[in-house]
């Protein structure tokens, strides 16, 4: 479905920050795309045919290959765009991008996207900037995996998801959580039950409800505050 300015609200922070002339040029090439939980937006080592600019929802970027292929190393929402490989010079990349929270994106054909990058220094500048912030997020994740306890990481993950979904309630199975956090399911269950016992969250049948946000922030590692500051 081609983009329709009357019915589709553009909320992606890169696109909406473009100069009016650049946005006017790119708009007819955008296509509205509904992101549904579990959809794969980029498959490792397959040519990226579209670039997605999320307006809402969450996209998980999972570890490169092999054993790490289920491990979440960063998340992208309305502040960014994926995949970045065409922008960085290659048609494909080893990254898997998976929709983690339902939402809307606007996507553009890779060929059109590269034309726009050529014609819009501002788009290029913002994409470089976003690439850098994504690298910071991945670096933070590396450190977090090394040093922080499961419960701290779970708390951080819940906060980041709630921020992006703009809701204190969302669906998430333990299996997905265990993949995202790179720990066994028992580890997730234990950490989640503890947060529940403290009255911070309510967790039942895949539904997570954040009851006490300030306490959840207290339970999260410092990575949450650092990453939130970084995406402003």
């Amino acid at each position: 479905m081609p983009f329709d300015a009357r019915s589709d609200l553009l909320a992606n922070k890169i696109l909406t920050a473009l100069p009016a002339a650049d946005l006017a040029r790119i708009k007819p090439k955008l296509e509205r795309f509904e992101m549904t939980f579990g959809a794969i937006l980029n498959t490792p080592n397959q040519i990226a045919e579209h670039i997605y600019f999320p307006d809402s929802g969450i996209i998980s970027l999972l570890g490169t290959l092999g054993e790490g292929s289920n491990l979440e190393i960063s998340i992208v929402s309305s502040e960014g765009a994926i995949p970045l490989c065409p922008f960085l010079g290659t048609p494909s990349s080893p990254v898997r991008a998976l929709v983690q929270g339902d939402g809307i994106a606007h996507r553009i054909k890779t060929e059109d996207f590269l034309d726009e990058c050529r014609d819009s220094p501002e788009l290029t500048r913002m994409l470089l900037h976003f690439t850098r912030s994504l690298m910071l997020q991945i670096s933070q994740c590396a450190v977090c995996f090394r040093f922080h306890r499961i419960e701290e990481r779970l708390a951080r993950w819940l906060l980041m998801s709630a921020d992006r979904m703009e809701s204190n309630e969302f669906l998430m199975t333990q299996k997905t959580l265990s993949h995202m956090l790179g720990v066994r399911r028992e580890g997730v269950t234990k950490a989640a039950s503890h947060l529940q016992k403290l009255g911070i969250i309510k967790y039942s049948r895949g539904n997570i409800h954040i009851l006490d946000r300030p306490q959840l922030e207290g339970a999260a590692c410092a990575c949450y505050a650092i990453l939130s500051a970084g995406t402003q």
Binding site: I47, G63, T64, L65, G66, E67, G68, L71, I73, L84, C85, P86, F87, L88, G89, T90, P91, S92, S93, P94, V95, T110, E111, L114, C117, R118, D119, S120, P121, T124, R125, L127, L128, H129, T131, R132, L134, M135, L136, I138, S139, Q140, C141, A142, V143, F145, R146, F147, G182, A222, I226
Partner: protein
């Protein structure tokens, strides 16, 4: 401050990125390159510093350390003659968020921030190389994250030794267990145990702050897949350049920062 030493052309091109530049591009920048010696332990940048230069190591190896809120550190990437230090200069933002420290003393050439930005803005192959390298560093950092989560200290130590060995002229590495522990973000005892095990296996020899790589294949067998993932990806992104099999010509359009056409062939 010491007098600036103009970089020797052949030595500059020991850096693989500079070495891969076609002559006509290299000619343009060579007068902007300055030779610099980088002793072990020298800090090129602290987190938050304003950056004045981009560095292209020729024989030195630089470690990128992420600084935690409590002051602790962990290595997120390594750049030797296959890379550069200072990508913030072309990615936007002048300050760095990690500490860049020399982990194996040697030489580098560097280029002033303003010169680098001007050259990057020209587009063309230099820009393309830098962006591809950015992508490869992103993979390296991602794989570090995965490795931190999933693999044993011994496997991580092997990964670390292999990455360093790739960039060293000889089979030895001057490095204490303390330093390795800082890099890997683990306790020193953990490193000592892992190194002792590798020595028992006969794949390394360790004596007075020097690690000798005795059996590289043996280290590869003990290492996790992470080393292979990172080096395969580097080759996918940059191998074509290194082998002087350059992608299709790229238009130079100074008004824009990015001038790639999509008609590039997929790497295998």
């Amino acid at each position: 401050m010491a007098r600036k030493i103009k970089a020797d052309e052949n030595e500059s091109r020991l850096n693989h990125l500079l070495g891969a530049l076609p002559d006509e591009d290299f000619v343009r920048i060579k007068s902007q390159l300055e030779y610099i010696k980088l002793p072990l332990g020298k800090v090129l940048y602290e987190s938050g510093d304003k950056m004045s230069h981009i560095y292209f190591p020729t024989t030195a190896i630089i470690s990128l350390l992420y600084i935690m809120e409590n002051g602790g550190t962990a290595e997120i990437g390594i750049a030797g003659n296959n890379g550069l230090i200072g990508m913030a200069l072309y990615m936007g933002g002048e300050t760095t968020s990690s500490r860049a420290i020399v982990q194996s003393g040697g030489d580098a050439v560097r280029m002033k921030a303003a010169d680098l930005r001007a050259e990057f803005a020209r587009g063309g192959l230099f820009q393309d190389l830098l962006l591809r390298y950015t992508q490869s560093l992103m993979t390296q950092i991602s794989q570090t994250a995965v490795c931190n989560r999933l693999h044993t200290i011994q496997q991580q130590l092997c990964r670390w030794l292999l990455i360093n060995h790739d960039q060293l002229p000889a089979d030895k590495l001057v490095m204490t267990h303390d330093l390795i522990a800082n890099m890997l973000g683990v306790r020193r005892e953990g490193v000592s145990t892992a190194a002792g095990k590798l020595q028992e296996l006969g794949v390394i020899k360790y004596s007075r702050g020097t690690i000798y790589i005795v059996d590289r294949k043996g280290i590869e067998r003990v290492a996790c897949e992470c080393y292979q993932v990172v080096s395969t990806e580097y080759d996918r992104l940059l191998g074509e350049y290194m082998r002087k099999n350059l992608p299709a010509p790229i238009a130079h359009i100074s008004a824009s920062v990015r001038q790639r056409t999509v008609k590039e062939k997929a790497f295998t």
